[in-house]
Amino acid sequence: MTDTVLSTHRLSKSYGSREAVKGIDVEVRRGEVFGFLGPNGAGKTTTIRMALGLIRPTGGRVDVLGRDVQTHGGEVLPRVGALVEAPALYGYLSGRDNLKAFASVLGGVPRSRLDDVMELVGLSGRQRDKVKAYSLGMKQRLGVAAALLHDPELLLLDEPANGLDPAGIVEMRDLLRELAAMGKTVFISSHVLAEVQQICDRVAIINLGELVRVAPVADLLAGHGEFVVKVEDPAAALALIQGHEWGRSARLENGVVVTPSPSGRGRDLVQFLAAAGMWPDLLRRRQQNLEEIFLSLTGNNDGAVS
């Protein structure tokens, strides 16, 4: 059993002269919750569609559960649960009949499982209603139920929290954690960066079709190597720090100095300041949130993330 459940190899897709995805290499390991982030038009959905065999790559390939999805889709995709963009459902059928329609395609799903997944996503009481009468949040939950029908090893979820109320988002997060705890791999694309930060083990950030960064969330949050320093005379400390090559990016934020360390370690920064007679009153590693990191990596300052 391979430890890599999804991998892309120099994956590219062009529409005419426009390159939507440019040679992406991503590897998703078994059992992890992997976040896939990027602004609108970055190529996230195109990548997910190629992973599901919906569109053909112009170059490279996607391996799912160890097999090329273009040539072995019928073998591996039944072991994948997917929710691509908005939930696509048959509005003229009831929620239960939607699940029956999707279940029949692969066969072998007992009726009791339809009840189980309906109950799991909280739609038991509405399963006989036509889907066209469902709210967006209910459709989203039904989409997740459809993805879970065959107890997939890998879940590819594109914006699973779309349309859910705050309580629903929390429950969705709990569900995804539960799935991960059961050993399922979850590949999630979301614009709710706070959610991604809370549930993902690793994230990939893409921008303009190119992979910008792949890293564990913890490393990403701590990895900028900046420190927050409170000193008696912040302006003087800033001038001192900026006089050195390693301190060019130092700046003042709300009366405190935000700066790299000469070596990357906090104690060397303390020593440097102390040598100049500027003993810090407080020094801590700066924790950025994922949104700040995302914006700094993609240069997207309007917050439009998808």
């Binding site: 019928g74 039944p78 009949d97 999707f102 065959h150």
Partner: protein, 305 residues
């Protein structure tokens, strides 16, 4: 999600199957979608209502009663022709709409990506849709035959006291019955292929249904245009071209096979005399083109919906 069940309890109850795409399952899924559309039932209700009115008018009146009494064979042939025209027209509209909607709704609703993302092949899905449509068409045909047979029996017994005038018809009457059944089957198959192709090409309900429904009126009307062009230009090329129109050729098929008695098609027929072989070739070529276009476009194009 306030009524969500405890995830661990439910998820742990889920066994781990090894699912694989199932063609029979895909056909069942398509049949469920056909049954689930209110429009399907509205069209069937319309088929029943129009059939009842038409059959009522066909078997009522003294003229028809006299024909049955004096020439049961002509009565039977007229009845056959009437119900074949009725069935081809009504089932044609029904199948064109249902087939184009079944396929195009997958694209316009985006459900195609949900189905294909489960590992179902594109051609596997197309094949399942065609089989489900064929099954639906056969069910409608069987029901229609049952209703027409029951109506015929009731009318003949009511007017003649027994069904003997029909059962004693010569063998040719039964041969023509099978020919009519064959023509009905061919007409249904062509309508399913045409509706499917229109939906695959347009990938939208509006285009799929619109193009499918416009095709036969267009080439029936085209026959009038060709006749007019022939008169205006005195060129036979218009007549030659017209013999390759699908609708008129389908209308002519029954008459070209039944040579024992004169059959007049209800709608446009080719402007030049064509034989059965010509009709089969034209219908076969159109069917092949529809099927090939559906297969190639389904197979080659990305699913961006």
């Amino acid at each position: 999600m306030s009524t969500v069940a405890e995830p661990s309890a439910v998820l742990s109850a889920l066994a781990r199957p090894r699912p694989r795409p199932s063609f029979a399952g895909a056909v069942r899924s398509e049949l469920l979608k056909i049954r689930g559309q209110a429009l399907t039932w509205i069209l069937i209700a319309a088929l029943v209502a129009v059939s009842a009115v038409t059959l009522g008018s066909v078997v009522s009146g003294d003229q028809v009663r006299n024909l049955l009494a004096h020439d049961p064979r002509s009565f039977y042939f007229n009845y056959l022709q009437a119900i074949l025209t009725l069935f081809n027209t009504m089932s044609g509209v029904l199948l064109l709409i249902v087939s184009s909607r079944l396929v195009s709704l997958e694209y316009s609703g985006g459900t195609i990506r949900t189905v294909l993302a489960r590992g179902t092949g594109r051609l596997h899905l197309l094949g399942a849709q065609l089989v489900a449509l064929a099954i639906s068409g056969l069910v409608v045909l069987a029901a229609f035959i049952a209703v027409c047979a029951a109506t015929l029996y009731a009318v003949v017994v009511a007017w003649q006291g027994s069904f003997t005038p029909i059962t004693s018809l010569p063998q040719v009457a039964w041969t023509d019955t099978w020919i009519n059944l064959l023509v009905a089957l061919v007409s249904m198959a062509v309508c399913i292929l045409l509706g499917t192709t229109a939906a695959v090409v347009g990938r939208s309900v509006a285009f799929g249904v619109g193009a499918a429904l416009a095709f036969f009126p267009a080439d029936n009307f085209g026959t009038v245009v060709m006749a007019l062009a022939n008169r205006l230009t005195n060129q036979d090329v218009w007549l030659q071209v017209n013999q390759y129109f699908l609708g008129p050729t389908l209308n002519q098929l029954a008459a070209s096979i039944q040579t024992d008695h004169a059959v007049r098609a209800a709608f446009a027929t080719p402007l030049v005399k064509v034989d059965a072989a010509h009709c089969w070739i034209v219908i076969g070529v159109y069917s092949f083109v529809f099927l090939a276009a559906s297969v190639v476009l389904t197979w080659r194009r990305d699913v961006l919906h």
